[in-house]
């Protein structure tokens, strides 16, 4: 164990409740924005737990390597805290202040312990400072990671929401696609279409791309792959609403739509789908 760790431990020992009180007071100065707040009892518990784990980590593993296995407990506490606070709307710096606010009370005590030893004080303060900095940065990292996770989950949810698969008739599904089709979105959409085909036992699926402004090679290939996959499962796809520009692109790109049924409009596709399932539309009385 390093000498510095030893010094820190001595300062911590026996002064915990005193230190805890100072630390909590220190933190109450940092008010989070947007009405996010945490009960004081919760803060107290977290601080108490941190101090316990902090001491045993220094005792077992020294004050140098916070990535080491001895610091596992501290890291876990900090990452949980960081995640929850992140979700509660704390900013990264507000979250990190949990650790940084420990500096003042801790340094005061180090100063008292090294009152007659300027060199020792400088050294002890420096190492404690480094340690708390790396722990503080760690909370920021976790905070950011948690944010990124939220963003990627929302992106995923948005993808799934953006294109509903609707049932037009018994055995006939339609997938009205709107907006730019990138490769990732096409893939998600296609997976949900195939899943719905199984769930509803539909023989025919109409993919309507009236609302799609452009199609690139990759997207065209994804469309084709979906048609092939549906065929392997025993269902047939009809592509409708191909705009003139897209028709041109498809031919220019050299994408072979082969024997895929294509129709100009969703209505035409629906008529064909009804016909193939042995149905038709009949006028029941004279209308306008």
């Amino acid at each position: 164990m390093s000498k510095n760790g030893q010094g820190l431990l001595e300062v911590l020992k026996g002064q915990e409740s005193d230190l805890l009180a100072d630390w909590i007071k220190e933190q109450s100065g940092v008010a989070p924005r947007r009405g996010a707040s945490i009960r004081e009892s919760e803060v107290r518990d977290q601080c108490k737990e941190f101090l316990g784990l902090f001491q045993s980590a220094i005792r077992d593993g020294g004050a140098d390597d916070i990535q080491g296995p001895r610091w596992g407990g501290v890291r876990e506490l900090l990452s949980n805290l960081s995640r929850t606070r992140g979700l509660q709307g704390f900013s990264p710096s507000e979250t990190a202040s949990f650790v940084f606010s420990l500096k003042k009370p801790l340094f005061t005590r180090l100063g008292r312990a090294h009152a007659k030893d300027a060199e020792g004080l400088a050294e002890a303060t420096w190492s404690a400072n480094q340690l708390l900095d790396s722990l503080g940065l760690y909370t920021t990292e976790v905070h950011q990671k948690a944010r990124e996770e939220v963003i990627s989950r929302q992106q995923q949810e948005m993808l799934e929401l953006s294109t509903p698969v609707v049932k037009l008739w018994e055995g006939i599904l339609a997938l009205p696609m709107i907006g730019t089709l990138d490769s990732a979105r096409t893939q998600v959409v296609m997976e949900s279409l195939l899943q719905r085909i199984v769930e509803t036992g539909s023989n025919i699926a109409i993919i309507d791309i009236t609302g799609v402004p452009t199609v690139d090679t990759l997207t065209a290939q994804h469309l084709l792959k979906t048609v092939t996959a549906a065929r392997l499962m025993g269902a047939e796809c009809i592509i409708s609403g191909i705009r003139p520009q897209i028709a041109q692109t498809i031919v220019h790109l050299g994408v072979d739509l082969g024997d895929v049924t294509t129709k100009a409009s969703l209505a035409d596709a629906f008529a064909i789908a009804l016909e193939r399932t042995g149905r038709g539309v009949r006028k029941v009385r004279a209308g306008s």
Binding site: M190, E191, L194, Q195, I197, V198, G201, S202, N203, K225, T228, A229, A230, R231, L232, M233, G234, A235
Partner: protein, 132 residues
């Protein structure tokens, strides 16, 4: 030896694959099916793969082979119940199983087989031949 059971139902043979298929099992199934088609004079084979959570090129080839051999033996093959994830993977792998007929489930597969044998019967009737 381990075998995949083949059920005879009237004019058709039905196979439900429910185990993770090792290669020998695949080859045995191919042999068993062809010999049963010929001995029973079956006109249709239905292979249910709804329990399979993956089809690689080896199993894919087996399915293609069975369809091809059955055709030579005058029987139609329908593969039913392929899962979406399996279908997506097969397409990505580069297999489209051309020439193999498919249906969503056993029921729809049977309808397909009946329709095709009925068509054959009518054609043969028109030719003035008897089915026996």
């Amino acid at each position: 030896m381990e075998r995949i059971p083949i059920l005879k139902m009237g004019d058709f043979l039905i196979v439900t694959i429910q185990v993770d298929m090792h290669d020998r099992l695949v080859t045995t199934l191919q042999d068993d099916l062809t010999s049963m088609i010929s001995s029973h004079g079956s006109h249709g084979v239905l292979i249910d793969i709804s329990s399979l959570d993956m089809v690689d090129s080896f199993i894919g080839r087996m399915i293609g082979n069975i369809a091809g051999m059955s055709r030579v033996l005058d029987a139609e093959t329908v593969v039913v119940g392929m899962r979406p994830a399996v279908a997506i993977t097969l397409v990505e792998l580069g297999l489209s199983l051309d020439g193999v007929r498919t249906a969503l489930d056993v029921e729809k597969g049977m309808i397909l087989l009946r329709a095709s044998t009925r068509r054959r019967l009518t054609e043969e009737d028109e030719d003035g031949r008897d089915e026996g």
